[in-house]
Symmetry: D2
Subunit: 301 residues, 4 copies
């Protein structure tokens, strides 16, 4: 493990990511003893956006249990075609926790049934504060902008409400989810958050349990099979790590039992994944033999 | 034409519709000279529900023109699977004017861009008043009940708004559309309305043009190919007339150049079409050789 | 009716079809008294290709009855996406008689269960000979070329065999269907064939019944809702006549109770329909008010 | 590792699998040093059926390279609905190597372009002989029975041939694939085969490389995301191991860097997976903490 140095990360950024005219670029790895190594623009912060989804899903699983959540959020991959909004045939569930439908339901499941919008959001914000070890802030400007142009999420939320799968008022859930997406961190924070998922829910800095082991297994599983949108298939073969991107250009990956990994670079590909963050994490997986399905006896590090 | 008598309609109701323990049952035919013949419970009134759709579509076509409407509402059949909400791939349009997505768009296209909800609805109500020759009323209780449980339509309206296909605020359109569905008429009124579509837009009682000929051709065409939901295929083969049902149990059909036809009986089949109203109209089409694709020289009447 | 003259057809070809550098172009109308009027390259013959489908469907309906055919061929429109081969969910039927799956089944249903390939084909050839009033010939070169590149039809035929919907050996049916497609006629023949469907199955030249009335109603209905491939929706609105094209560039339309119409011009649009043949028939429908859903009392001719 | 004993496997069979009136039941684990532990009816042999697919895919990858194979076989999950045969839109590829379309293509890619049916099959049989360490035999009766009822595979093969994705004659490939499925082994053989995939392609008994590391990574990846048919989602969450079943009731799983696992019990669930073999392997994964996404530092054994 001692072979992960600043220099290695810098080398990977240089070799794997190409130039991009001054666009920020950062890479961080968090060991399971809490040590964080980073390179590049590691002080730039960004909104987590969809990278919040696996954590809120795990929180909902912890609070409500696998069975109650499974009645509302499935575990199947879902190709989302252009402007089609589909729930699971027969059940009306959201297909999985990483598409917006599932993320809205997971958000609505946090807290108590009679929590108001603010109370529910505060519980979610507190999770992220615990994960990164300090009070996280919401970029209210981003949150407001999302609220003004939320027709697609409102469509989903009303549809979920019709199916009695959403646990709260559609407009409140969409607003709360917009604020969840606008939580700000930097790449070292995100590597720390990923490390919690790499250590079965234990916090690497404090050693305390933040999320339940089963909830983390579910979060890792949904990321492995559905985390990189339509690019899912290829990522599994080439990188072999659970991962989740955010539209801000952030991306994190989980090497179970080994590290949390995060990268940040704003330019996106057609699937909405950061081009250079994906390249950095793929190079790191390759260099350190992290692919979970390509292990040899005794491991590789 | 003189062979359509009360007695014929009574005979058809008796032979084709079976008994249904006191459920209302009515059948009416309106000739293109304005004469209406009817049988059964022809004084019972009911909400038009989806039977309003072709008329509002024709009104939007008259007011905005075929090209502007075609940018927002397509002309293709659309099988709607369980809890799937789909717009046309590539265009974001509603597939056609008879599914709810298209009906919401058509509603939003009536009137001027800056009409408020009440003004727009008043223009729609006025159309139906002209069609039946007296002021039609809205069943406000039904309209309110729909508004309380409108999640699916709100989902559609928000999705259409995202695609910039809806011409007004989603919540206003859904409320206005709910009131449109709650307009009340009886079976003789509905036969008169159908007769306007059978005479290319001319009102059979007054001789005045109520709807444009091209708009009526479009309304008849969408009813012929998409009017009877999933049952569309079979109805075309067996009955061969443009038709539209409402969930209240009403159903009307258009025999172009010949008659307007309407029937009413509340019990619905799995497709949401009135079982006995459909049977009555099928028997009438059969008896009078009305199938538009099964004509012999000189016609049959 | 007397207003359909050579000059009218010539005018329509000139105005509606544009120039195409010497590509053949022909238009013909057959009255229900057997008179054929034509213009353009009316002596050029061509393979019927898919234009055979409605006739063989009608023949199968006559021989086996509506119920037996309906167990194997449905009556629903079917959008065929790129390289997807789908049968009806739940039944395994071909969706309708105009997609290749349905055409293969219809071919296999003609004749007796123990007919060999040659006998079955001879019965089909005889139908077309009766329709045009002389022995039709098969373009064996075209038939052989089709047989050499028939993987898609073989895929369909094997799938239908698995569903026990095909009534004969897949390879025999595909070969026989290839010969069916290669039957040659000219545009006047095709107008005559269309006139049989316009007169409910009666032959306009001989007055004899060639196809049953119900079978013809079914053939016209499937053409109206599914005849022009993905362009179906638009054709219904603009032209309003049952129609079927062949990949050779032929196209025929049925004006029930009035005329049979045919056109020929090889260049195809993206849907596989002849560009100029479609334009000619649309112009004719427009000029003579043939749209079946846009009639006024007394008709238009 | 020394904690895997006959007694443990017996206990798992007893606790996890329930009674099934004399149906055979067997479980085996192969360590990466070649030691095989087994329990139950471990001498009963069975046809591998679809369990051959990942191995032949890996062989094709070794022989042709990732790029050439990727032009013909994708890496995306594919829900196969009732009697729908779909290739990837745009490419015409088989969606992945575990659906029949992909397995047929993989079969056709083994060997040289001009290999005849027998030569190609012999190369495939030799792979399985090497994997199990003795000459494997084909159950010719099963192979013949499959050949007699192969309409669905022939449909697929013809479709793939049309898309120029199949590397050989459709009928030859379907026959050869039928023989591949009829290769017989027992549960200890299958655990040994799985162990090759668990050790990145190295044979645990001989230490020799049988399959390339990248090919094995691809085989494990496709099994992880697509291996258990429609049940894929749930298996990933609960068991977390690449696995593949055969319709004979066999099932194997790969614990990368740790073990090969196999089980056999004929009764199948609705997805075509062995009910009791799946229960046994799930219990084993649970007992030994094998889930690849739920690791803690240092592993669990």
């Amino acid at each position: 493990m001692s072979d992960i140095t600043d220099d290695l990360l810098k080398e990977i950024l240089r070799e794997a990511c190409g130039d991009d005219d001054g666009e920020p670029l950062a890479l961080a790895v968090c060991h399971l003893d809490g040590t964080v190594v980073s390179a590049g623009d590691d002080a730039v912060d960004f909104c987590l956006q969809s990278a919040t989804k696996p954590f809120v899903y795990a929180l909902a699983l912890d609070q409500k249990g696998v069975d109650e959540v499974a009645e509302r959020i499935g575990v199947e991959p879902s190709g989302e075609a252009f402007n089609e909004i589909s729930l699971e045939a027969g059940t009306g569930r959201a297909a999985n926790a990483l598409i917006n439908a599932g993320a809205l339901v997971a958000h609505s499941l946090v807290g108590e049934a009679d929590d108001d919008e603010g109370t529910r959001f505060e519980k979610i914000r507190r999770l992220f504060s615990t994960l990164v070890g300090r009070d996280v802030e919401v970029d209210e400007e981003v949150a407001d902008a999302e609220a003004d142009d939320a027709h697609r999420n409102l469509a989903l939320a009303h549809l979920l409400a019709e199916e009695q799968v959403l646990a709260d008022d559609p407009h409140e859930v969409v607003r709360g989810y917009g604020r969840q997406c606008a939580i700000r961190v930097d790449v070292r924070d995100l590597a720390l958050m990923a490390a919690v998922l790499a250590d079965a829910g234990r916090h690497p800095a404090t050693g305390e349990r933040v999320l339940g082991r089963k909830a983390v297994r579910y979060a890792n599983s949904v990321m492995f099979t559905c985390g990189m949108y339509d690019a899912a298939g290829d990522w599994v073969y080439q990188v072999g790590l659970p991962a989740k991107s955010g539209v801000s250009g952030c991306l994190f990956a989980v090497a179970p039992g080994r590290f949390g990994i995060a990268a940040f670079a704003p330019r996106l590909d057609d699937h909405g994944n950061s081009v250079r963050a994906a390249a950095a994490i793929e190079a790191l997986s390759d260099r350190l033999d992290l692919h979970v399905l390509d292990m040899v006896p005794g491991g590789s590090d």
